[in-house]
């Protein structure tokens, strides 16, 4: 059967042989590449490619007044943008549902994983704190946007360098010392692993755009290095048994190791020799 006429039948033929049209196995991720520090005007940036899916994350740090109920905490404000240039399914204008759901997902990951201790962003309690605006922009949409965004955010935050800020006692103004910069304290390393459910039974990892479209359900697991889960995102779709969930967990553990290794290589290559 033809790929364009009956895409589901075409896929089923491959899945029966336990592989996919692009030659991958059911549990195999696409080639992942990461590049940090490419945006010189941002305080931290990272570009992540998962096969064709490309997401860039830029982090800008600005001053803000802390919230009254937590005067010694800063803010981390994520925003995921899915512009028309990444895929023909998106129109220009206010963020669509997919972008909003992705933004909420990233906000939840930041909150649940405690990737940054918000107290670390405090400059002067009750008066001045850092706010980190994390802008994630998809440059090419080919499925599995959540994994790419999570990785891009993690890499960008590890790349962020904040200047030292002192409050002048007399003028009560903030003095920024751009010559003295220090890296952010990234406390945990949350890594996302996404699955697509096919025909209510088969689970495939890292779905492409076409696979996501044909899938009957999706699942995203976000795990940190200790095996703790900060997010189990399953927005409806086909049901899963506890046993299938366990298989996904083990795959997520191995994926975490793969990503951590890649992360460490990149960070070490950036360090001054």
């Amino acid at each position: 059967s033809c790929r364009t006429v009956e895409p589901l039948e075409y896929y089923r033929r491959f899945l029966k042989e336990n592989c996919r049209p692009d030659g991958r196995e059911l549990g195999e991720f696409r080639t992942t590449t990461v590049n940090v520090g490419s945006i010189s005007t941002a305080d931290g940036s990272a570009l992540v490619k998962l096969g064709n899916t490309t997401v860039i994350c830029g982090v800008k740090a600005e001053f803000a007044a802390p919230p009254t109920d937590a005067p010694d905490t800063g803010y981390v404000v994520p925003n995921v943008d899915l512009p028309p240039l990444c895929s023909s399914r998106f129109r220009s204008g206010p963020p669509g549902e997919e972008a909003q759901v992705a933004s909420q997902f990233i906000a939840d990951v930041i909150e649940n994983s405690q990737i940054i201790q918000k107290e670390d962003l405090c400059i002067s309690p009750g008066k001045l704190v850092w706010v980190l605006y994390c802008d994630l922009i998809c440059l090419d949409y080919d499925g599995n946007i959540l994994d790419a965004c999570t990785f891009a955010l993690l890499a960008a935050l590890k790349n962020v360098q904040l200047p030292e800020v002192t409050i002048n006692e007399e003028t009560a103004l903030a003095e920024v010392n751009l010559k003295k910069k220090s890296y952010l304290n990234v406390r945990t390393h949350p890594v996302a692993t996404s699955f697509a459910v096919f025909d209510d039974t088969l689970l495939i990892v890292d779905p492409t755009g076409e696979e996501e479209h044909l899938a009957t359900g999706t699942l995203t697991i976000v795990m940190d290095e200790e095996g703790k889960l900060c997010c189990l995102h399953k927005p409806g779709g086909s049901g899963l048994t506890g046993a299938k969930l366990q298989d996904c967990m083990s795959r997520a553990v191995t994926r975490h190791k793969e990503v951590k290794k890649l992360m460490d290589e990149v960070i070490n290559s950036m360090k001054p020799k």
Binding site: E62, A64, A65, Y75, V77, N79, E97, Q100, V101, S103, Q104, F105, A107, D108, E111, N112, S113, Q114, V131, Y133, T216, G217, D224, G227, K228, L229, C230, C231, L232, H233, K234, P235, G236, G237, S238, G239, L240, T241, G242, L245, Q246, M249
Partner: protein, 197 residues
């Protein structure tokens, strides 16, 4: 033709500023902007608030889409409108139960019923089912699951906080056991309703 599902969750403002629900004009959000200076954090915070609703709507919609037999009603749109009357914790689970009962009441053909169950884990790891707002706030992690009535499979999951894999399995097992009670309640209330007529 595929069926379209729209889920509008209209949440009444708890500050009691008026009886009008938050509509697309976003009366509550505009109010917040007037109070605070239009500094970006507040703007983004209220943007994120609307985004949280969109996220919840998608969870409920996708759960309904998984069970509703859409192919029996082509070129049809089913709109599920959920109005929060009072929120005393476990809101998402309550929304899921309400949505399921509403679909049954409407006579929409479904392949299974579904129910929502919330578990909260506190700092010692004690499991609490169906937590109150206070328990949710103090919990280390809050997990909400939607389970189907046929095989108790996991249809939807939405979690907050940090927890281990073993704790997840524990919560899932507890939720599956609790779902028996919810499904029994569905059956009993429907029996009561139809025995009267």
């Amino acid at each position: 033709m595929e069926e379209e599902m729209h889920t509008d969750a209209k949440i009444r403002a708890e500050t009691g500023t008026g009886s009008s629900p938050r509509g697309p004009g976003c009366s509550l959000r505009h109010f917040a902007c007037e109070q605070n200076l239009l500094s970006r954090p507040d703007g983004s915070a209220s943007f994120l608030q609307g985004v949280a609703e969109k996220s919840r709507e998608r969870l409920i919609r996708n759960t309904c889409e998984a069970v509703v037999l859409g192919t029996l009603h082509p070129r049809t749109s089913i709109t599920v409108v959920l109005q929060v009357v009072s929120d005393a914790g476990s809101l998402l689970a309550c929304c899921l139960n309400a949505a399921c009962m509403a679909l049954v009441d409407a006579g929409v053909p479904m392949r299974a019923l579904f129910c929502g169950v919330t578990c909260a884990l506190d700092s010692d790891g004690t499991l609490m089912l169906d937590p109150t707002s206070k328990q949710e706030k103090e919990a280390r992690a809050v997990l909400t699951f939607a389970l189907d009535s046929v095989e108790r499979k996991l249809l939807m999951s939405s979690t907050k906080g940090l927890y281990s894999d073993a704790e997840l399995q524990q919560c899932l097992a507890a939720a599956q056991a609790a779902s028996q009670h919810v499904f029994r309640f569905y059956r009993e209330s429907l029996q009561r309703r139809y025995s009267k007529s």
